[in-house]
Symmetry: C2
Amino acid sequence: MSFVISLDAMGGDSAPQIVIDGAAKALSNGLKCTFLVFGDEHKINPFLLKHPQYKQYFKIIHTDEVITNEMKVVVAIRTLPKSSMRMAIDAVAKGEAAAVVSAGNTGAYMALSKLLLKTFEGIDRPALATTIPTLTGQALVMDFGANVECTSENITQFAILGHVFGQRLLKKASPTIGLLNVGTEEVKGNAIVQEAAQKIRNLKHLNFHGFVEGDDITSGTTDIVVTDGFTGNVALKTMEGTAKLIQKMLEQSLRQSWRGKLGYLMAKGAFQNMKNRIDPRMHNGALFLGLKGIAVKSHGGMDAFGFANAIRVAASLASDAASGQIAEDLERFLKEEK
Amino acid sequence: MSFVISLDAMGGDSAPQIVIDGAAKALSNGLKCTFLVFGDEHKINPFLLKHPQYKQYFKIIHTDEVITNEMKVVVAIRTLPKSSMRMAIDAVAKGEAAAVVSAGNTGAYMALSKLLLKTFEGIDRPALATTIPTLTGQALVMDFGANVECTSENITQFAILGHVFGQRLLKKASPTIGLLNVGTEEVKGNAIVQEAAQKIRNLKHLNFHGFVEGDDITSGTTDIVVTDGFTGNVALKTMEGTAKLIQKMLEQSLRQSWRGKLGYLMAKGAFQNMKNRIDPRMHNGALFLGLKGIAVKSHGGMDAFGFANAIRVAASLASDAASGQIAEDLERFLKEEK
């Protein structure tokens, strides 16, 4: 089965190059889809020319308007009716594409997606979620940057979205949910997490574990970790930075002695294996949960390899028949809780 | 030169054992100090008996009252006038000890330290700071859990404390300061970091780098990273968890093949070296900055080795003649900014 995926060619630090190269990479990996590419055709075409074998898989829709990372969200929305990001999202809203991928301004992407795709009944704001590797498998973490100011009601809705999507994405009947805090004791935290915990506890059909701490994210204490977008963004980027630090320290240590160098050569495959498991590019592609349409966010600093992974995430959601049932799951959940 | 250090024997998950064993370890490492130990003598004595050679270095002051981790701060302060933590801090306030170390309830420790030791003029709330290893050396990160709700004014004061203490602790004339956020662009973040950035920019004598992101903490982008206690706590615990995850993944990868196993044996020293560099016990001992007295916080889950390190931090501050000058530095800074 083949899908149409719409791409914001102008979002991300190295756009449009990584977008086009990433899409070509996804095709060369065997992905069955075609692309609607929104952006400046003069900038896009030189990169498309590098992949003549995939020419027929791309359709460019030209636009000059670009939302930059520095732009305020209100400005991006009000003054740019034809931005590449907006048009790419709109293609999903109009049913011309099954999913959209952008590496652009997260705040604008979130606001435009909400505006054009709409949220499910009972959900005020979509949550940006991503899976991360843990000691026991993987965890779904949200929000990680789309909602930098959250009320306790927003966080409670993230927990509901986590539950409904987690059932599908993690294939668990009743995924455990942790609320990120500075301690696990019930009295810990600020007013917002305290209120959110109270609200989540009142939802009878959620498998709420209670508070979790920063180190619980990677230890796999719960299947789902819920937090506001400010904290979640800092936590996930801190994970990335720490992974880099440790790899660097290990390299330095190994280089200091001939035994270390020899050991490295012997175990090179094992090191590469570990590197692959934590490669942020392998985990690129965050999902906006709660929208009536599939929108995937790529990290702005990704290369083509990482962008191809974000496309893979979008395609796998679009092809997953189950994803259509999520709206039903959510509706049932909210009805049962009433 | 010998110091008196006061210890809250009842704080931390494995108290009083780790407190007494940790103090004995500090002594066996050659630290020149004696200890005032506050807590339940019936619980403390059995552990002291294990270290007969150091008997004369300990003086126990008995009290039954203990502040638990589950206790609300107001309850801990109002209902327990003779808690081990309070008495240990009070020993510094009365000049009987040069520094206090506790692994107990962070919120209560912060509130009691503020109450008994007082903050410097111009500082409303102390910041809990710790050094962490980075790609380029080390960074001073604050607040990491004492102030879970911060105003932009609090965060601005943390930046000032970071500057003044950073000069001494990091031995840099003008340490660079980063404000933790979800993006480096000026428009990014919530209202509090936006306001704080504005206030910090107005301080002419601070070397303000601007916003930094989670991965900048470990990459060493700035000497000092300032944030609210909620975000800081989550970030630092996420670092710990990620370090554990990567070590575990590496072990798993190495065990999967005979080449991996052999490589590990060859390079065992290098692995141990790396482990030591990121061992959270080596970095145990966070400082309350901004108090007119030295108060050091040990992680609640530490073992004796980690607690000994927190004592080492307290002793090194107490012995550093420069620390007496920090009050002067701060006073001068605030005067010059006016």
